[in-house]
Symmetry: C2
Subunit: 263 residues, 2 copies
């Protein structure tokens, strides 16, 4: 089971990428999902070397997107190049907040941004995975807040180079979840796990370790499997309490919880 576990670097955001790759290798993890700011600390070539030296493969690069930001198109092309250089075929897209109060317009502009990026990504062998974020993150991070909307965009574009990244934290609340995951068959670029803590007061930094919250992770994973996704599963947790743990405790805890709760 652990062969599908990918350690997303955000789960240990206070550590360097070499520290994380070494800890993953030491505990039998085979995949890593790096964020770009961690890659930038040592440069993409050095990052690729370190990851390869540790015997790891890259499940995806986090993240492109933020289509309404200045210079977004250029930055997104760099993200594609970095993904290709790291040897992954998946770039996670966090699409960015709406520029105005016109949400349908913001969503249409995001779709056009993805369409502009697609040919460049295809040339580099990189698929674009639209990650719907939790609706509470709309104002600061993403106008795309449901799996249904992400799939609508992917279906309209209708190219195998555009799919979705499904994170349990962002989507588990959705009463349409089962039908949307079934609809996602063939378009799932990535699957992220963690947990929703029952008592949550912060909109960004209270993501939980698998098993500590209220998400039916086995049931979620069964839907993802039934939709045909058999790729790596990233553990991505944004939480200062997790970040304070030494890697020598955090990485084995992650493996244990993954084996008990995810598959």
């Amino acid at each position: 089971m652990t062969s599908r576990l990918s350690f997303n670097s955000m789960t240990a955001d206070r550590c360097s990428l070499p520290e994380v790759t070494e800890a993953c290798a030491a505990h039998g993890i085979e995949w890593i999902g790096p964020w770009r700011h961690k890659v930038a600390e040592i440069g993409v070539d050095e990052a690729a070397r370190r990851i390869a030296d540790a015997g790891l493969r890259v499940s995806s690069l986090c993240r492109g997107g933020f289509f309404a930001a200045d210079g977004a198109d250029e930055d997104n092309r760099r993200a594609v190049e970095e993904a290709a250089a790291l040897g992954t075929d998946a770039l996670v897209l966090v699409c960015g907040p709406p520029a105005t109060k016109d949400l349908p317009l913001a969503r249409a502009e995001i779709e056009r941004g993805i369409e502009r990026l697609l040919p460049f990504a295809a040339e580099h062998g990189v698929r674009l995975g639209i990650e719907p974020l939790h609706p509470m993150m709309l104002g600061e991070r993403s106008a795309i807040v449901t799996l249904g909307e992400a799939l609508d965009i992917a279906e309209r574009i209708g190219d195998p180079g555009v799919g979705v990244v499904i994170d349990v934290y962002h989507t588990f609340w959705d009463p349409r979840l089962a039908q949307e995951i079934a609809r996602a068959a063939g378009r799932i670029v990535g699957y992220h796990v963690n947990d929703w803590l029952r008592e949550t007061s912060h909109t960004l930094l209270e993501r939980g370790m698998m098993g500590d919250g209220i998400i039916d992770l086995h049931g979620f994973s069964a839907m993802i499997e039934a939709a045909g996704y058999g790729g790596p599963i990233e553990v991505e947790i944004l939480n200062p309490a997790i970040w304070e743990m030494p890697l020598s405790e955090l990485v084995p805890l992650t493996v244990d919880r993954f084996e008990r709760y995810v598959l």
Copy 2:
């Protein structure tokens, strides 16, 4: 326009109900939407007298619900009696969190709880308004987190005594909003306004005053009007920064923002 403004007591949660009713009357407000804990402070008979003396009508009572809690059925019948005693035909339902990780089960049990309450509510001339809360409130307050799910329940029950309460804060993010509001025609028991502040880090206490955030309130109200709702519109804001304002400033500010942003 102000004739449709209803001041929800939560917007001034640090004040007593008599203080709020007097301030509303002094500034030309005709409706109030009290919470039960404010009614309980002075008793329901005294609350009804104070509200009548101020020349106000009650748009709704907040709140019943929490169907998985101990003693929920009995407490919800008391809420119905209080609503009737206050002269309103609307009880807002906040349905409560799931007891387990089984969300479909939690939602089915909520539906059965509403069905059990319905005959008693009908005898008292009180309609039940299911209020979907923002998905970030699922773990602590409500398993019902989309307008679509609330409408599915109301349609399955199929009784004019069960409808929905639509709050802009809880629902504006939904890409299916327009179609769901249109579907809600004839079932809208209440409409709540406030705003979503672009930078939001707290899941409960950072609701904004109309005009301070990113919700297209005029567009939202137009959809509500098109669905045929012409009743009172409650201003409900949970925010300590708002609660610190004296009523002599807060109430006229509320009237001003309502006139400029809501209709």
